[in-house]
């Protein structure tokens, strides 16, 4: 058992290593191989089953046929032998018994019977118990040197007086034939009662049958050329007839006759000279003889050779067809997957805009479509990241620049100097503190996400500085809802709008300029409107403000409208950003649209790291 397990293990290992290298196997090959193995296994299983069934059935048919042939041959032989016995009976009871041989000649009667059966008989003769020839037909000249009493047929007849005895085939050598004819015969002998000179005595009646009679019956039964043959043996196994008798006698061929003599009537299996054989035996009544029909194994194979070849041909063609069909089917099934895989490989190799294959079965098509969408989304994300990074860089640069914009700073510092020189110290301190607060919030320790409260404060700082600088030539009003103050926003988004409102809106309005900053919540959205009553912008131009790349305004802090719009969108999503409403001569409203996101450490970190608002 352990040994079997080891062998099995080694076999599986071998197959895995040399036939089924799973690490390099494609889907097509796997499908193809699996289907092929299954199909071939089923074909073989079916083939073997049917073949075994056929062979078994064929064998049974052949054996049945052999039995029938044997039965028929036995019938014919028994008929023949019965006929011989009848002749013997006829001679004895009609011609010899109750007749005194010294007074009546029995030769004429014997001759009549002989002539009537001349084809079957060689001679008929009667002998005394001492071996003296009494009568004989057709030839009455006995060979003088022969000792009849030593002849087996003679001694057996006298030994077993009740029976008729059939001898083995031998050459008839009782009577002299000047024509030098020697014939094979089977002697039928029996003890008889003869009467001579009114004295009954025991004698022997001999009927020499022509061996060719038996030979003909058996030769007919052996006319096939399938290797099957029939032979006849006596009770001791001695061959009476065999199609290859002389070869056996010469030692060239062999037969298992000795063992066959021990078989009961019926079908037997034997092995002789290394070959398996089926043997059917049947006894011949009265004689003790046995007919044996031998069907060698090669004979069975001969009969089914054609079937075997046809089966091999069919199976070979079938398996080849299955392999090709499986290859084709697996190709058809696997091709879309392969194409999809190729698309992935293309993507893997660095092509960020691969043509993703969408096709094949529903599942593959779905995969392709999903993958295509994923690729697109990744691309967009990457683009967005790039833009974001760029915007961040720009805005940081801008913020930095705005933070150190010399013009704003110069002007503000000049104002402070002017104030100090003018001994307006309180105003100077105020300016410095407002400027300090402005820069503090601008930096916000490097953070991009701050609270709206801080953003509004930044805006107030800016406006406070600008109001002083512009000598209060405009008014600004902040109306921010309390509930939105603690919400998240991107820094430096209100100030640019206020700057825009100053330079494009109310500058030059001689004190009548009004800027109104209103912050409010609408459901999950926050709006911060920067409204001015300035000269306004045509609506078309207003929309362009959000699409063209506005370069840094030389008067302002340096952060453009488009920058604000993009930064909001990048941070919170496409649906957020700036909206502009403006009518010439009526003023403009720059609306900041943000999501309502409470400002806390968690949200700040989330949006700082680029988390997208959902």
């Amino acid at each position: 058992m352990k040994r079997l397990k080891n062998i099995r293990k080694k076999l599986i290992l071998y197959i895995r290593r040399h036939v089924y290298k799973s690490e390099n196997r494609t889907i097509q090959m796997t499908i193809s191989l699996t289907f092929t193995v299954i199909a071939i296994s089923m074909i073989f299983a079916l083939f073997l089953t049917l073949y075994q069934l056929f062979v078994h059935r064929d064998q049974n048919t052949r054996i049945t046929s052999a039995e029938q042939m044997l039965d028929q041959t036995a019938l014919n032989l028994e008929d023949y032998l019965r006929n011989m016995r009848r002749i013997s009976d006829a001679i004895y009871y009609s011609a010899i018994k109750d007749k005194d041989m010294s007074e009546n000649s029995v030769t004429e009667d014997m001759d009549l019977l002989y002539e009537a059966n001349i084809d079957s008989l060689l001679s008929i003769a009667t002998f005394t118990k001492d071996g003296e020839l009494l009568n004989a037909v057709p030839n009455s000249t006995a060979k003088d040197y022969l000792d009849i009493q030593k002849q087996e047929w003679f001694s057996l007849a006298l030994k077993e007086v009740e029976n008729l005895h059939f001898s083995r085939p031998h050459i008839e050598n009782l009577f002299d034939d000047p024509a030098y004819r020697y014939k094979w015969t089977i002697s039928l002998s029996r003890a008889i009662e003869i009467t001579r000179n009114k004295t009954p005595e025991v004698g022997v009646l001999l009927v020499d049958m022509n061996y060719s009679g038996v030979e003909e019956i058996l030769a007919k039964a052996n006319m096939g050329n399938t290797g099957e043959y029939i032979y006849l043996i006596d009770g001791n196994g001695n061959i009476i007839y065999h199609p290859r008798q002389r070869l056996i006698s010469s030692g060239i061929a062999e037969e298992n006759n000795a063992e066959a003599a021990t078989y009961f009537d019926g079908v037997h299996e034997e092995k002789f000279n290394g070959e398996k054989r089926v043997v059917v035996s049947k006894s011949i009544s009265y004689t003790g003889w046995k007919l044996v029909n031998v069907i060698p194994d090669s004979s069975f194979r001969l009969g089914i050779r054609g079937i075997q070849l046809y089966a091999i041909l069919t199976v070979s063609v079938g398996i080849a067809a299955i392999i090709l069909l499986n290859l084709f089917l697996s190709y058809v099934i696997a091709r879309p997957i392969k194409r999809l895989n190729d698309s992935v490989k293309e993507w893997e190799s660095g092509n960020m805009n691969p043509k993703i294959y969408v096709g094949g079965t529903i599942e593959v098509e779905h995969l392709g479509r999903t993958l295509s969408r994923t690729v697109r989304q990744i691309r967009q994300l990457m683009d967005r990241i790039v833009i974001e990074q760029e915007e961040k860089r720009k805005s940081e640069l801008d913020a930095l620049q705005s933070q150190i914009n010399p013009h704003f700073l110069y002007n503000t510092l000049e104002s402070i100097i002017w104030m100090i020189e003018g001994e307006r110290y309180k105003e100077a301190v105020y300016m410095v503190s407002e400027l300090s607060s402005l820069f503090r919030i601008s930096l916000s320790k490097g953070k991009t996400i701050i609270s709206i409260e801080d953003e509004v404060k930044h805006a107030r700082n800016y406006m406070n500085i600008q109001k002083i600088r512009y000598k209060n030539s405009f008014t600004v009003d902040f109306d921010i809802q309390e509930e939105i103050l603690k919400c998240c926003t991107v820094k430096l988004i209100i100030q640019p709008l206020l700057e825009n409102a100053i330079y494009y809106g109310v500058e030059g309005m001689d004190g009548e300029g009004e800027i109104y900053v209103k912050g409010y919540r609408k459901e999950d959205d926050i709006y911060i409107d920067v409204i001015d009553n300035g000269i306004g912008i045509p609506q078309e131009s207003a929309q362009l403000l959000l699409t063209e790349d506005n370069h840094v305004h030389k008067h302002g802090s340096g952060v453009g409208i488009i920058n604000v719009h993009n930064r909001i969108k990048l941070r919170f999503g496409e649906q957020y950003g700036l909206e502009i409403e403006s009518e010439p001569d009526e003023g403009s409203t720059f609306r900041i649209h943000l999501p309502y996101i409470p400002f806390d450490a968690e949200n700040q970190e989330f949006y700082e790291k680029g988390g997208r608002h959902r």
């Binding site: 196997r25 014939k183 094979w184």
Partner: protein, 326 residues
């Protein structure tokens, strides 16, 4: 991947070979198997001495699927006659030949040329030199020696003079006859035997007359015949003088006539070659040559039996002597 493709191509190729082989064999099964025509050329083909040989040929033909053609001949008078017959048979489509050579000598070149296209097997007598061509023969030297021994044994009863023996030597151009005679002579050399006369020749027509003459000149006590035809000639000689002669003949015989006179006492002992086996193996050897199968033996010696009156109807002797086909 490439390995997979190679594997599949290889597999399909193997299947194609298997299928193709099966198809080819199937076609060959349907078509009738090739049957070879084998011609048998022996001297005096209708002689009763060939009865057992013919039975052996017939059995061999049946076993090996051979079409046999035994050419009807009378006694050969010379090699020219035999060669002419052989040529005719080859023209008629003989695939192989089984030949009893009239003359064993100076045939090498002729047989060589013959053997190239038409495989041949020699029976009864090999050619000279021996063992060049396939032959199925009895041990002729042993036969000659056996005859010699029988004569020497008979000569033991001759105290006052040597036993005189007449020899019917047959066709001494046949190596078989030559060998039998040589070994017979060697066996009786320096024994109480004298060869009174010897008749050699290839026709039996005038042997009786020659015997008559020789017997008058130098009467032989018994006659040794080296072949069946010679033995039958001896029988005819003695029968012409009556049937009272006993134990006057010794010889090689296979016909029923020789058995008859063995039975009646005229022939003391008969040496009977196993002609049946000779015929069977001749066909078998020819078949092996035709099918290029491995030959079981190039030259095969067949057995013989020494038969006398007492043993002629024993089971073993009967089977060898008497043909079944009657």
């Amino acid at each position: 991947m490439k390995a997979d493709k190679i594997f599949i191509i290889l597999l399909i190729f193997i299947l194609a070979v298997i299928g193709g082989t099966a198809a080819w064999q199937l076609m060959n099964i349907s078509a009738s198997g090739e049957t070879y025509n084998v011609t048998v050329v022996v001297s005096d083909s209708s002689s009763a001495r060939w009865a057992n040989f013919k039975e052996g040929l017939s059995q061999g033909a049946q076993d090996y699927g051979i079409m046999l053609n035994m050419v009807t001949t009378t006694d050969f008078t010379g090699m020219k006659q035999e060669r002419s017959l052989i040529s005719k048979e080859i023209e008629n489509g003989a695939d192989a030949l089984i030949i009893q050579l009239f003359s064993s000598y100076n045939q090498s070149e002729y047989l060589d040329n013959l053997n190239v296209d038409t495989p041949l097997v020699l029976i009864e007598s090999d050619s000279n030199p021996e063992d060049v061509f396939s032959s199925i023969t009895p041990d002729n030297e042993a036969i000659g020696k056996e005859l010699g021994s029988l004569i020497v044994k008979k000569a033991d009863s001759y105290e006052e003079r040597k036993l005189k023996v007449g020899v019917l030597a047959g066709n001494q151009e046949e190596l078989a006859m030559y060998q039998r005679l040589s070994s017979f002579r060697d066996t009786i050399k320096n024994k109480n035997v004298d060869i009174a006369w010897q008749i050699s020749g290839y026709t039996d027509d005038d042997i009786e007359m020659q015997m008559n003459n020789y017997q008058k000149q130098n009467h032989a006590d018994c006659v040794v015949a080296l072949g069946n035809d010679q033995l039958e000639s001896g029988i005819d000689y003695y029968v012409s003088y009556g049937s009272q002669f006993k134990d006057v003949l010794y010889g090689v015989g296979a016909s029923e006539k020789t058995v008859y006179y063995l039975e009646n006492g005229m022939i003391n002992s008969l040496i009977v070659p196993d002609e049946y086996t000779c015929g069977y193996f001749a066909v078998k050897t020819v078949y092996e040559k035709l099918t290029h199968a491995q030959e079981t033996a190039k030259n095969k010696q067949i057995g013989y039996r020494v038969v006398d009156r007492a043993s002629v109807f024993s089971e073993a002797d009967e089977m060898m002597i008497f043909p079944r086909t009657q």
